[in-house]
């Protein structure tokens, strides 16, 4: 039975939930009853106005053909990293590195679940539950109840190499429900890389707790398989002097909804979230939704949202982003930018940028724009002999540049840019 069908049942019976030790079983049971109370998203929900939840919860599970990457090395292949591989949502010990490292506790959720006592108990489903206001996020709740695996990571020092979650997709009719929990202790540093489509239908929850002075860097590349669907949630709590930075690149994909809920709870913290999405609806559907909610609940914190989308041939983009500044969050510096570049009249972009501010000494700005290629710039390039398709792609990459700049590691940023360039070049033929 597919996830879709199981989700339609809404009320998930105890036997349907993956077997696990006491602490996880409790968290799952709690999630199941919360889900029963809130129900699944419907077309009538304001929060799902622009992204139809239907295909995520319908009884008919859509398949997704596995893309032939034609020998292309996956992103991050050159990075010295600790690799954790899932194939269609199933952990592959063979392809993964040993789960160990200095200053690092890392294990599969399935293993952590077998233990009666575990530190992850204080986080699993906890940040997710906090993230259920002011709107319900039922698919995340479903994930908490039903996740089959994931990783739990605790970092106590500055890790010498990134942890890299690799999500391979081999079965055209697969579901992956993964839930990972990450705790950075005071002053710890972790770079988390994620890449790959994961499955035909992917539900992902990441709960990230960034303690005082810690730094979390996240770079994610969602797989290019055309018909894959992904709904992801990142729930983060960011404490004093800590840094949280997350960047996602998305190319292709029938349906992607990336939700991110960030609670800034300690003074002088920094939270950045960015995304670059490229979609061409000519031969395959493309629908991409970024939904972000940042709460400032501490003094002198900085938050940045930088989302860029390039759309053509009926590709659709959605952005819902909110900054909430609580009464005591003075000296907040909040910034939200959401821009789309529509390469033709068929593409569409819908945006709902929101600010809700209860403190008086703050700087907050938001800007959402929908634009076309700059004709002046295009002519300038063409007048230098650059053919229109190449000139257009140069301007597309230029448009995405300030989102990509949010990636801390320059080599990774250059790699991401290079692959986008290659994708554009392939399309030019």
């Amino acid at each position: 039975m597919s996830t879709a069908v199981k989700m339609q049942a809404a009320l998930i019976s105890a036997d349907a939930r993956p077997a696990s030790g006491a602490w996880l079983a409790d968290a799952r049971a709690d999630a199941a009853s919360r889900l029963a109370a809130m129900g699944l998203p419907t077309r009538r929900d304001e929060y799902w106005k622009w992204t139809r939840p239907d295909s995520l919860i319908s009884a008919v599970a859509d398949t997704a053909e596995v893309l032939d990457y034609e020998g292309e090395e996956p992103l991050f292949s050159d990075v010295d990293r600790l690799k954790v591989v899932f194939v269609d949502g199933v952990f592959s010990a063979e392809e993964s590195d040993a789960l160990e490292g200095e200053g690092l506790e890392i294990e599969r959720l399935a293993d952590a679940a077998a233990k009666d006592i575990h530190w992850a108990k204080d986080l699993y489903g906890v940040l997710e539950t906090r993230g259920q206001t002011p709107v319900n996020r039922p698919i995340a709740v479903h994930n908490t109840a039903m996740a089959t695996d994931g990783v739990v990571i605790r970092v106590t020092g500055a890790l010498s190499r990134p942890v890299s979650l690799v999500y391979r997709h081999e079965d055209a009719n697969s579901d992956a429900i993964l839930h990972s929990v990450i705790r950075l202790e005071d002053g710890a540093e972790l770079t988390l890389l994620e890449n790959g489509p994961a499955a035909a239908r992917f539900s992902s929850v990441l709960e990230v707790d960034v303690a005082k002075g810690a730094a979390f860097h996240h770079v994610r590349a969602q797989g290019r398989d055309h018909d894959r669907q992904a709904i992801t949630h990142v729930f983060a709590r960011v404490d004093a002097e800590a840094t949280f930075k997350s960047f996602t690149v998305t190319v292709n994909g029938k349906l992607t909804r990336n939700e991110c809920v960030i609670d800034i709870v300690g003074d002088n913290a920094v939270a950045h979230i960015a995304g670059a999405a490229l979609g061409d609806g000519a031969e395959h559907e493309f629908h991409h939704d970024d939904t972000v909610f940042i709460t400032h609940d501490a003094v002198a914190c900085e938050s940045r949202q930088v989302f860029k989308k390039v759309l053509k041939n009926g590709a659709k983009g959605v952005f819902q982003g909110k900054i909430l500044v609580k009464p005591d969050a003075q000296k907040t510096d909040g910034y939200q930018k959401s821009q789309s570049l529509l390469l033709d009249d068929d593409a569409s972009f819908q945006a709902k940028p929101e600010l809700e501010i209860y403190a008086d000494d703050v700087i907050c700005s938001h800007g959402s724009t929908t634009g076309a290629i700059d004709e002046e710039a295009l002519f300038y390039l063409r007048s230098r002999g650059v053919p229109t398709p190449i000139a257009t792609d140069l301007l597309v990459l230029a448009f995405l540049a300030d989102a990509i700049e949010e990636i801390e590691d320059e080599d990774i940023a250059a790699d991401v840019t290079g692959r986008l360039d290659a994708w554009l070049a392939r399309r030019r033929g």
């Binding site: 007048s383 002999g385 300030d402």
Partner: protein
């Protein structure tokens, strides 16, 4: 080299005729200057020749070495050897100047059936040309024209010209915004390119530039037409007396 014959141009969106029968011929290896009052159509002529949108040619034609220019796309005109140094160079945030130059050089090579330049060769090439124009490494790294001063933008135009080695160069007020030293630098850059096989059409308001870049012929443009042509002394006359006498003489 460049032959413009009875060129009539109106704005596409408005019923406004801007060029009203321009006749002009620039032979190979020659430098021609165009002077003329503000709004007389000088920039429009340069844009129409390089293929910018927004204009409609209602009569006449223009050829480059016998090839019909006005039928070509802007990039084809560039590959055929036409270059316009813009009066107002365009800023392109997010595109590095170096990437821009390399893409342009290689695109033109490709169009001509030549091999693309290797990264190392390109770097050597661009550094040498940039040095002549006192363009520093920082300016090459920055996004195209973004945050460049007026004079830096103009030098960047000449750098592009030096790298693309076009055969027909149109310079639209490249001297405006340049300080005395930069004017010398730019002129030297232009003079270094002077060659039997290369022609220049220099649009300017000032005699000063023409002291450095000696023109063979000076044309006066007014109300969308070339109304008078002569030797370098014509520029001096404009410098001293303005356009009033010349225009009166024509009206008479």
């Amino acid at each position: 080299m460049l032959k413009i014959n009875n060129l009539h141009v109106k704005l596409e969106e408005e019923d406004k005729q801007i060029l009203k029968g321009v006749d002009l011929e620039v032979p190979a290896g020659k430098v021609h200057a165009i002077m003329g009052p503000n709004g007389s159509g000088k920039s429009t002529l340069s844009y129409v020749l390089s293929g910018r949108d927004g204009y409609e040619v209602t009569a006449g034609d223009a050829t480059l070495d016998g090839e019909e220019l006005l039928d070509m796309e802007p990039e084809e005109r560039a590959a055929a050897g036409l270059f316009l140094a813009f009066q107002y160079p365009v800023e392109i945030p997010g595109v590095g100047n170096m990437t821009f130059l390399r893409t342009a050089v290689n695109a033109q090579r490709k169009a001509r059936g030549e091999e693309e330049m290797s990264a190392a060769d390109f770097l050597k090439f661009v550094r040498a040309k940039a040095k002549d124009l006192k363009i520093d490494a920082d300016m090459l790294k920055r996004p195209v024209n973004v945050g460049f001063s007026g004079g830096e933008k103009k030098r960047n135009e000449i750098l592009q010209m030096a790298m693309l080695e076009p055969k027909m160069c149109i310079l639209d007020e490249t001297d405006s915004g340049l300080d005395v030293d930069a004017m010398k630098l730019v002129s030297e850059g232009v003079n270094a390119l002077r060659d039997e096989g290369r022609s220049f059409l220099v649009i300017t308001h000032y005699q000063r530039l023409l002291d450095h870049i000696k023109p063979d012929v000076v044309h006066i443009m007014a109300a969308g037409r070339i109304v008078k042509s002569g030797g370098p002394e014509l520029a001096l006359e404009v410098e001293h007396n303005g356009y009033a006498d010349i225009l009166a003489e024509i009206d008479a």
